[in-house]
Amino acid sequence: MNAPLSGPGSATQTPGREPARSGLPRTSRTARHHAPITATGLVAKVVLLGLVAGIAIWAAFPLVEAGHWLGLGVLAATTAGLFYLYLGRRHIPAKYLVPGTLFLLAFQVLPVLFTASTAFTNYGDGHRGSKDDAIVAIQTSSVKQVPGSTEYALTIATTGDPATGDLVFLLSDPKTREAFAGDAGGLRKLDAADVTVSNLSGKVTAADGYTVLTIGQASGRSDAVTALIVPTDGGAIRANGLTRAYEGKAARAYDAGCDCVTDDETGRTWTADEKVGSFVAADGERLTQGWKVNVGWKNFGAVLTDSNISGPFFGTLAWNFAFAIGSTGLTFLLGMAIALALHSPRMRGTNVYRVLLILPYAMPSFAMLLVWRDMFNTDFGLLNNLFGLDVDWFGGTWSARIAVLLVQLWLGYPYMFLVATGALQAIPAELTEATSVDGASPWQSFRAVTLPLLLVALSPLLIASFAFNFNNVNAILFTTEGGPFAPDNPRNGATDLLITYTYRLAFGAQGAEYGLAATVSIFIFAIVATLSAVSFRRTRKQEEVYS
């Protein structure tokens, strides 16, 4: 991860690269003749490329169905590119690089781009779909049965083929046993002599000139049944399932002329506001169904100016650093101390100790977090009961912070112990022996030789651990849930990390607000990325000094 970018190696041509650049045509041609085509290699290639093509064909159908031609183009180009690359014998470096690059694009770059684009919208509960979706939802949810109207028994029939012919509703009034036929043209009465009405269900079971569909046949044409609306004077007859129909009326209708929704019953109108993605009445009342719109920099502005968000931001950020540094630092110190103790040649039974020490690492961390949470309970918790304490662990600011750090220490030290053990075994024993020959104390030898060499190997892991703990949602949500909270501030708790705080902001209000959440996560991303970049830079310098 770090070698190719740094050190003296990058200054000169690596031996592997040189022939590929200078003597490409000849060497590759000779290589082609020398490279044997093994049966295993061929089978692997065929199977993998077959899978690629299979996945591509499988993915193409929904794209065609939805009319995503751009997506289809990208899919076709990618697949063709992969085939060209792996069926040919050239472009050896690309063969190694392309799979990783594709996965990087699909699983890293795309989500980041998607998050960034979401940050500029009001995407969230109530604003998920398009304006058309919202209008459909508003109209359908306002359909009410016309007061006092008949509820019909419904039979679905057709004048043509059961699978394709135009549908007709055969309706019968359960009280008068009168029968009607209804289609998009309207309702007409059927002659009693032409129809058979079942005594049991009150439904029309046969009618001259119509083919009655079974429930199975009718349900196969569910869309057509839902789409068939029989206009009447008071409203329209709609199917309610497959065996009943009612006369209903949509109270709210959209008018494209004024770009507004009007309620027939109350006469109220709500005009579309493209800035907020809602229909808004004159008095500011909004219809619940809204749509997704681009809100520009509004979410970014909210994060920076809303006192609810920016007020506790720096306090949370400071604790977030303390938590990440504390978790990483403490686990590293404990893990390293144990690794050093077990590394000593005078130590006996090291394997038993190692197995015991790894145990916490082998248990699922979320379950352990829940167990620890219960152990910190004031009245029923193991800790207070065992030590005869009466500490309100999660109730006090500092006790809660110490508690989460203790849990993190217990969960995290086995990992540090493992990696430190590995790194210690890679340090040549001659080096420490040489220091003792020179008369250095064990501490001096550790300070001057072991620790720096350990850090060279472990720094990237420490940075990764820091970045992980910086956003360690589980450690907080499963234990304190961010608490304790000040009585006058339920928004932000003493152990809240930026990420748990964001989570509460985004999902605490009236449903999820993905747009705002995406914006805050961009801020967090910027912080973590800057920190990591700076730390890696520093590590590189350190490596240059010691190597």
């Binding site: 061929l42 290639k45 065929v46 199977v47 490329l49 899978l51 690629v52 299979g54 996945i55 064909i57 499988w58 069926l87 509960d125 109530g126 998920r128 779909g129 939802a137 949810s141 306002s142 359909v143 009410k144 049965q145 699978a163 079974t214 429930i215 199975g216 349900s219 196969g220 044409r221 569910s222 869309d223 839902t226 399932g241 497959l242 009943r244 009612y246 619940t288 169904q289 309970n377 004031t378 009245d379 029923f380 918790g381 999660f394 109730g395 304190t480 849930e481 608490g483 304790p484 909270f485 000040a486 009585p487 006058d488 339920p490 928004r491 605490g508 209000a509 009236q510 449903g511 999820a512």
Partner: protein, 416 residues
């Protein structure tokens, strides 16, 4: 060259096979392949327990109507998954869930209203019908109700307390006699529990939302932060850690029922889900309404309702309506669902049928008689977290006026 041609042929063959494999699962079988599949397909989403109970009935419905019915268990975040899947057009036709989802499902355009005849409506418990009504429209067909009650260990407390003061006195005596270690098991936790404190909050005079003209909750009239709510929390504070010690943050959702079944407290405020545990632990228990404060109002628990919904973007809406409005309203199904998880059926006929074999059922429904329907409006989502935290702070000894005013402000800021 020969090898390469063979390779290309093989690749194409495999490609077709692979895409064929991928497709067969999602594609509808061709018409006429089998008579059963010739009709539509109904997909139902429910949580694990209910999915298992629904399966036989769904299959029967399929057989009767010559359609394929698939019941899929979604064990986690059913509501969110349903909204997201609906949006993408890959959702089910029918979903089963709690009635307080309705506000969110409607604002996302995920469910359609259902039309029940007056006759069908009359068959249901009135509160249940009210619960699934939102903005004057019926959005689901209810099948079970649930509410909190006071469950007491009759060996420790033979008499049902009439007021919360009686309860505290009885609990304190048991504690002094070393027969119990807690006065009352009412879960709070470090961050509070709005659902479980609500009966006491209402008894002390507090409310969450006022009522609009059409009978729905009105998000513009927020009761949290009003003088009534401060007075209510002052009463609750007296039961807290700095007062009587009946309400404690150390009693959580995880340990409240276990503490009760472990005979460490005589009184438990919980719902029908706690009964199975009490039976397992061989506790002699009785169920009575949650008592209110002496001289206060009635303690009104939240009433929650489980219901079936028709997905707005389902592929087979007519069939879904048929299932939800005409099939689910049958008592047999309600009884079967009751057996899968004992919550009182919303259908009066089904309730009467199981009432005889389970006396607890009637007691729970008695405890919920003056209950309040859990608000389904989207604004309710803004209540839970700040209200619970304020409750925990007050129980821990914080100043009620300051705490509740701040909670009210936070909630108000989040309601649009």
């Amino acid at each position: 060259m020969r090898i390469r041609t063979a390779g290309v042929v093989a690749v194409l063959g495999l490609a077709l096979a692979a895409s064929g494999c991928g497709d067969s699962g999602s594609d509808k079988p061709a018409a006429g392949e089998s008579p059963k599949a010739s009709g539509g397909k109904l997909v139902i989403w429910a949580d694990d327990k209910r999915a298992a109970a629904l399966k036989p009935f769904a299959e029967e419905f399929g057989k009767e109507n010559g359609v394929t019915v698939e019941v899929q268990a979604v064990s986690k975040d059913l509501q969110t998954n349903f909204v997201t899947a609906s949006q993408q057009g890959s959702g089910p036709d029918v979903v089963v869930g709690a009635h307080d989802w309705i506000g969110n499902l409607v604002q996302n355009g995920s469910i359609d209203p259902v039309q029940l005849s007056a006759e069908q409506k009359a068959g249901f418990n009135e509160t249940a019908v009210k619960a699934v009504t939102f903005n004057g429209q019926l959005y689901g067909v209810p099948y079970a109700t649930e509410n909190l009650a006071l469950i007491r260990n009759t060996e420790l407390a033979p008499e049902a307390p009439k007021t919360i003061e009686d309860l505290v006195a009885a609990g304190k005596k048991l504690k002094a006699d070393k027969k119990a270690s807690e006065i009352l098991c009412l879960q709070s936790g470090q961050n509070g529990d709005a659902y479980h404190i609500y009966p006491l909050y209402t008894s002390a005079g507090g409310y969450l939302f006022g009522t609009a003209a059409n009978g729905d909750y009105d998000p513009k009239d927020l009761g949290v932060g009003k003088p009534e709510s401060i007075a209510a929390f002052q009463k609750i504070a007296k039961l807290g850690e700095k007062g009587e010690g009946a309400l404690k943050r150390s009693i959580t959702g995880e340990n409240s029922i276990i503490t009760f079944t472990g005979k460490k407290c005589a009184f438990l405020v919980s719902g029908p889900w706690a009964i199975a545990e009490a039976k397992k632990a061989n506790i002699k228990y009785d169920i009575s309404p949650v008592p209110g404060f002496a001289g206060g109002k009635e303690a009104r628990p939240f009433v929650g309702v489980q219901a079936f919904y028709v997905a707005a973007k389902g592929k087979n809406k007519a069939l879904a309506q048929e299932f939800v409005t005409n099939y689910v309203s049958k008592p047999e199904l309600a009884v079967a669902l009751y057996r899968a998880e004992p919550r009182p059926p919303a259908l009066t006929a089904a309730f009467d049928q199981v009432k005889g074999e389970d006396p607890d059922l009637a007691k729970f429904s008695e405890a919920g008689k003056n209950g309040q329907v859990l608000p389904a409006i989207p604004a309710m989502a803004a209540i839970w977290d700040p209200f619970g935290k304020a409750e925990a702070a007050v129980i821990g000894g914080a100043d009620p006026a300051k705490t509740i005013t701040a909670a009210g402000k936070t909630i108000q800021a989040q309601i649009k």
